[in-house]
Subunit: 339 residues, 2 copies
C-alpha cells in the first residue's frame, strides 16, 4: 500500500455509491474527553418473561408468539410502511412527495434470548439465511414490493430496543436512496465493462490481501477500501450472484459461516457484545433485468476505541462527508488477528 | 396541506440534495423500550480550570489561551485535515484515492463556560457571525481552500467532547459530498429558471405558512418540507445571498437574532439544553461563478420524545433512506408555539 495513505489526510472513493470518505490516519492519536456509552455485558437469561420476542410470550397488540424452535417471523406491530394506504402524490412547485407502500417484518434469529449471531453456530445461522431467502422471494413476488431491505440493529447504542436476537425487513415500492445509488453505479459499470463491479473489485482485493479478513469457497469477508465506520466490513460472494436467492444450500451454509466468523471476531475486539447495524444490498424485485447487481452484506459498527467510546458521525460528517481516523488496512489487520 | 401527508407513509424530496426522506406519520405512537440518553442539566461554572477552551487556560499542546472577551479562534490541535501534506493519488483499478489538504479551526463563542448560543443575546451572537465572516473570507482566500465548512456539535450525545460554547471550521481543497450534491441541484435549477432554488422555495413557504417558525426583515426560520431529524430546522436569508460574506452589519444582526430565537425555542421543547449539529452550507471558495448558491444554516437535533429519548438513524436509515415519524408540519407548530 502507498505509505502516504497511512500518514496523510486523503479521501477515498466508494465505487458502489460514487461518494467519498475523508480519512485522517494521523488523527487516531487524539485524546478522548467526550461521552462514554453504557456497556452492558450482563448475561441474559435464555427466556425472559417480559420480552415480546421470546417464544410463547404475548406482544403489545395481544398476539401470542408460537413456541418457535429456530427462526420466527412476524409482521412488525409498529411498521413504518403501510400496505393498504391510498395512492397519492404532491407536486406543488418545489414541494414534492409521493405515497410509499410497504411491508415490514421482524425476524427472530433464535428462541434463545441470551444469544446473538456471534453465539450461534453456522448451522443455526444457515436457518436465518433460509428465512431471508424465503422472505426475499415472497415479499419480492408481491406486486407492491420492488425492493426488500433486510437489516439488523444490534445493541442499545444502535437504537435496538430489545436485546433478543432479531433483525428486520422493510420492503417497499420504490428504491431507497442508498440502493438507488448502488444500482446506478453497478449498472454503469456493467454496461461499460460487461462484468460485475464488485466482482472485479474482489479480484483486486484477493490479490492484494491487505484488507481481507476471511474467505471460504464461496465468500470473502473484507474491509472495503472506502469503509466509513472504524470496523466496517463487507461479506461478498465470490461468484457473481445478484441476490441471496441465487445461493444453493451449500452456499447458504458458507454465507452463514462468513457471518459467524465476522461476528465472533467483532466480539473479541473490545471483549464486548459488539454493536452494529448490518444490511444486505441486493437486486431490486422490480421485474427488471438486474444482472448488474452483485449482492453484499455490510456491517456498520460504531465502536472506535473501546467498548464505551464510539465514533460520532455528526457535524462535519452530516454536512460534509463521512470521516474516519483508523485506516481500513489497520482495522482489517486487527480483526484478521482475531479470527 | 394534503391530509394524506398527516396519515399515511410517504416520501418527500429534498430539492437541495435530490434525495428522499421516508415519512411514517402513523408511527409516532409506538412505545419506546430502547436506550435512554444521559441528561445533564447541571449548571456549569462560568470558568472551569480544567476546560481547555476557557480564557487563560493551557491547551493539551501547551499553548495558553488568551484572556479573550468575546470570540476566540485557534487552529484545531487535532485537525482532521493537514495543510502541509504531500500531493498524491491512487488510481489502481477500482481503488481510488486522492490527497486532501485543509485547515481546521475551533471557534469559541464566548469566554463564559456556562453558556450556549441559546443563553447569548443577539448582540453577542452577532460577534460570532462576524468571526465566521472573517474566517470564511480568510480561509476561502487561501489558494489551498475551495470550501469552508462551518459547523457546531452541541451536547455530549452529538459527540461534543467539551461543553464550553464552541463550534468548528473544517476548510479543504475539494467539495465534500453533501456540498457537491447541493451545488449540482442549485446550479441545474439556476441554469434552467434563472432564479434561486431556495429563494423560490422560500416564496412558497411564506405563502403557505405551515412550516414557518419565525421571520424578521432579512431571515426566515422554518422546518423544510423534507426535514429528516424530528426537529430539524433551517435559517434562510430572504434575499438571494450566496454566502455569509454578503451580509452587512444589520443583516448579520438579524441572522444572529434568528439563531437566538431558534436555539432558545429548542431549549424549551424538552426543558433541556437541546443538543444538535448545525452547519452553514454556502458558496464554495473555488473562484468559480457561484451565483446559483443561496446560503442557509441547518440544525439537526437528535431528540425525539424527551430529553433522554433520541431518534436513531440506524439500520434502515443507513442502508435505505432517512426516516422520520413526526411530520415537519407538527414539529413546526410545536416550535412556533415556543418562540
Ligand atoms: O472534533 P471533536 O469535537 O473532537 O469531534 C467531534 O466532531 C468531529 C467533526 O464532526 C467528528 O469527526 C467526531 O467524531 C466528533 O466526536
Ligand atoms: O424498529 P425499531 O427497532 O423499534 O427501531 C429502530 O430501527 C428503525 C429502523 O432502522 C429506526 O427507524 C429506529 O429509529 C430505531 O430505533
Amino acid at each position: 500500500m502507498s505509505t502516504e495513505l497511512e500518514d496523510y489526510s486523503h479521501k477515498r472513493l466508494n465505487i458502489l455509491t460514487g461518494e467519498w470518505v475523508l480519512v485522517s490516519p494521523h488523527r487516531a492519536k487524539r485524546p478522548w474527553q467526550g461521552q462514554n456509552e453504557a456497556v452492558n455485558n450482563e448475561k441474559r437469561p435464555t427466556h425472559d418473561e417480559s420480552c415480546y420476542l421470546c417464544a410463547g410470550n404475548t406482544r403489545i397488540n395481544g398476539e401470542i408468539n408460537p413456541k418457535y424452535e429456530d427462526v420466527f417471523i412476524f409482521t412488525n406491530d409498529f411498521a413504518a410502511l403501510q400496505k393498504d394506504s391510498p395512492d397519492f402524490s404532491v407536486n406543488d412547485g418545489l414541494l414534492i412527495a409521493q405515497s410509499e407502500k410497504g411491508i415490514c417484518k421482524v425476524v427472530c434469529f433464535s428462541p434463545d434470548h441470551s444469544k446473538s449471531l456471534a453465539d450461534m453456530d453456522a448451522n443455526e445461522i444457515q436457518k436465518v439465511v433460509f428465512a431471508w431467502q424465503k422472505e426475499y422471494k415472497d415479499l419480492g413476488g408481491n406486486d407492491l414490493i420492488n425492493y426488500v431491505q433486510i437489516f439488523e440493529n444490534k445493541g442499545a447504542v444502535m437504537g435496538c430496543s430489545n436485546p433478543h436476537p432479531h433483525g428486520q425487513i422493510w420492503s417497499q415500492s420504490t428504491l431507497p436512496n442508498e440502493v438507488d445509488k448502488k444500482n446506478t453505479q453497478q449498472l454503469n459499470y456493467y454496461q461499460k465493462n460487461g462484468s460485475s463491479l464488485l466482482g472485479d473489485y474482489l479480484a483486486q482485493e484477493l490479490e492484494k490481501k491487505e484488507r481481507i479478513i476471511f474467505e471460504n469457497d464461496a465468500f470473502v469477508v473484507l474491509i472495503p477500501f472506502w469503509a466509513v465506520w472504524p470496523f466496517e466490513a463487507m461479506i461478498v460472494p465470490k461468484a457473481h450472484k445478484s441476490s441471496i436467492s441465487d445461493l444453493n444450500e451449500e452456499e447458504a451454509y458458507l454465507y452463514a459461516e462468513a457471518i459467524s466468523v465476522l461476528t465472533k471476531a467483532y466480539d473479541k475486539i473490545f471483549n464486548t457484545s459488539f454493536p452494529y447495524s448490518s444490511g444486505i444490498h441486493q437486486a431490486p424485485t422490480n421485474g427488471e433485468d438486474n444482472s448488474h447487481w452483485h449482492f453484499h452484506m455490510s456491517f456498520y459498527p460504531p465502536l472506535l476505541r473501546s467498548a464505551s467510546v464510539k465514533k460520532f458521525m455528526v457535524g462535519y460528517e452530516m454536512f460534509g462527508s463521512p470521516q474516519r481516523d483508523i485506516t481500513a488496512e489497520k482495522a482489517a489487520q486487527m480483526i484478521r488477528d482475531l479470527v
